[in-house]
Symmetry: C2
Subunit: 387 residues, 2 copies
Amino acid sequence: MAIQQKLSLMIPGPTPVPEKVLQALSKHPIGHRSKEFQDLVESTTENLKWLHQTQNDVLTITGSGTAAMEAGIINTLSRGDKVICGENGKFGERWVKVAKEFGLEVIKIDSEWGNPLDPEEFKKVLEEDKQKEIKAVILTHSETSTGVINDLETISRYIREHNTALSIIDCVTSLGACNVPVDEWQLDIVASGSQKGYMIPPGLSFISISQKAWEATERSNIPKFYLNLQSYRKSLLSNSNPYTPAVNLVFALDEALKMMREEGLDNIFSRHSKHKLAISNAVKALNLKLFADENYLSPSITAIKTEEMDAEEFRKIIKNNFDILLAGGQDHLKGKIFRVGHLGYVNDRDIITVISAISNVLFDLGKITAKEVGEALVVATKYLEKN
Amino acid sequence: MAIQQKLSLMIPGPTPVPEKVLQALSKHPIGHRSKEFQDLVESTTENLKWLHQTQNDVLTITGSGTAAMEAGIINTLSRGDKVICGENGKFGERWVKVAKEFGLEVIKIDSEWGNPLDPEEFKKVLEEDKQKEIKAVILTHSETSTGVINDLETISRYIREHNTALSIIDCVTSLGACNVPVDEWQLDIVASGSQKGYMIPPGLSFISISQKAWEATERSNIPKFYLNLQSYRKSLLSNSNPYTPAVNLVFALDEALKMMREEGLDNIFSRHSKHKLAISNAVKALNLKLFADENYLSPSITAIKTEEMDAEEFRKIIKNNFDILLAGGQDHLKGKIFRVGHLGYVNDRDIITVISAISNVLFDLGKITAKEVGEALVVATKYLEKN
């Protein structure tokens, strides 16, 4: 039976928060114009650059990941600008809406939900743009709604070859889960959110901005105020903020980033990778089907088809019996898939736990045999043992 | 000597946070699409309406008070619309900037910093607008930068008499400190922020919207996405949010609003009122001068002139000796005034403490006699004893 307050979050955000980070969160606030807070802004900014593998500016905004993506778009582009939007899920769809709302001309490159975007389509459209009319390529790295990771490394290479278009990338569920080397891939705008790989509650979002993107902000004619990044950049020169920041979430950020540095990027990435493999292979042993193309599985979220079972009903049983919150399908996928988040503060125990819970319910429903229950755990354990 | 971590915040935000609220803040996050969170959205929304004394919708946004004010402006107005902006301090100034950024035509009604806005000027301009070209009156109720409260009751009556213009009011440091009866004064948009009277850390802002303002959103042609209030309204129908909200700050909000209901609006307002009177009268007994017109003192912040003393130096001594953080002057007032915040979770002890600290330093500097030190405390106590 479920016990109030002993919830395990296995959704793609909010993700579990370490005790230390919660303790930092609950400290008495301090003045956001004080020296003490400036020191925090300085150290978190430094650690954010480390996490982004960049020398670019990384700004912290009070708002969701959507606010950060919108900021990237409205600060660097102008009404009527032509942009490519990659769309293979709910978030890709959202950036198309944002682009259109602000008067951009959208060339859509899409693929069916569950499949990755085809880099060659980007190459083709970019190569054909001899007049260099395309000002930006907007896309989602890890598509949270489907559990697909897009091949950003290849697509970013084609963007660089175009030489004019900016890359504006939603890395909300990839940053801090897999390799996103901002400088190496020359990503101009990278947006992410606190309640994901960062291991802190929602409320902050982050945006890294290249020199080329800053130059573009000078030309942008879209009106903005709260999300005007130049204000944030100017304030950051004195380790400050243009508007009152979410002070306590910055305490939490500071603590979480220290934990991440202690673990190290390679360890963080390989932990997410083995969890992805453990879950996806266990799922197959349980006779369930992955929703996403198996060659493009997101490091942070696994979407699973339930076929004749109602996924919402299945999620409810898992929640009621085991206090584990799984995510459902969004829009037309509601009831058809459930999604297991394995992002941020997740250890091997969490992985065998969620597999056990899923197996247990499937067995109870008469969908699988005890042998299959065992096999799923064995295959998961095999992947977990790797490094 | 100052002890790290025993800071007393007497700035106009962040304000002190009750232990209970900090504990709520540090709970493990829950899913923002869960029934449990929907229940929280429902109860906090209900309590926000109570605090606003309104039947209007009250929305919660992840962002600062500036985000809420911007949202009020860009959702209800269109490029080229004529608006009146009241300006008698830094925040009034900011709303002029926001209005201009989004292409509004601004009629400025100002007064010198430290003085209130003259309601008769609003009356005159509104009465002369026979063509009803003025679409909104934007102003700040309690001007945090100067410690002045503007006569919103009278100005709002003139706005109602105009019958077309919307009122868009920054109540960031008045809501939860003094009477802001949204329905009685028919205020169309009221914006506020969590780190003020709400007694929770920064990161959330609130906006109440009248039916008339909702009708105006249908005509607005200013592009927006993250701050599109119609999305928040639509989500609120199912006690949800369009984008991931700052879940832990909502835990804190829930707890703080319960505390506020327990204390009761009248008690909250009279507490702020007596603290204002205790401080302002003590200040005079100390031979210091109030910066703001004495008939228009803000309930939440008292600005004090330091004349030949450097106010920044004075603040530093108070911080170093007594761990009390006071606010400085902004822009041209830097070094010339300091500001004592008495907003939110502040009790009588905090008031006598800050007066004692100020007196002590003035005595040390040879500015006042022991008799004056005593008189300041006596006069403060007299006001504190009232109710």
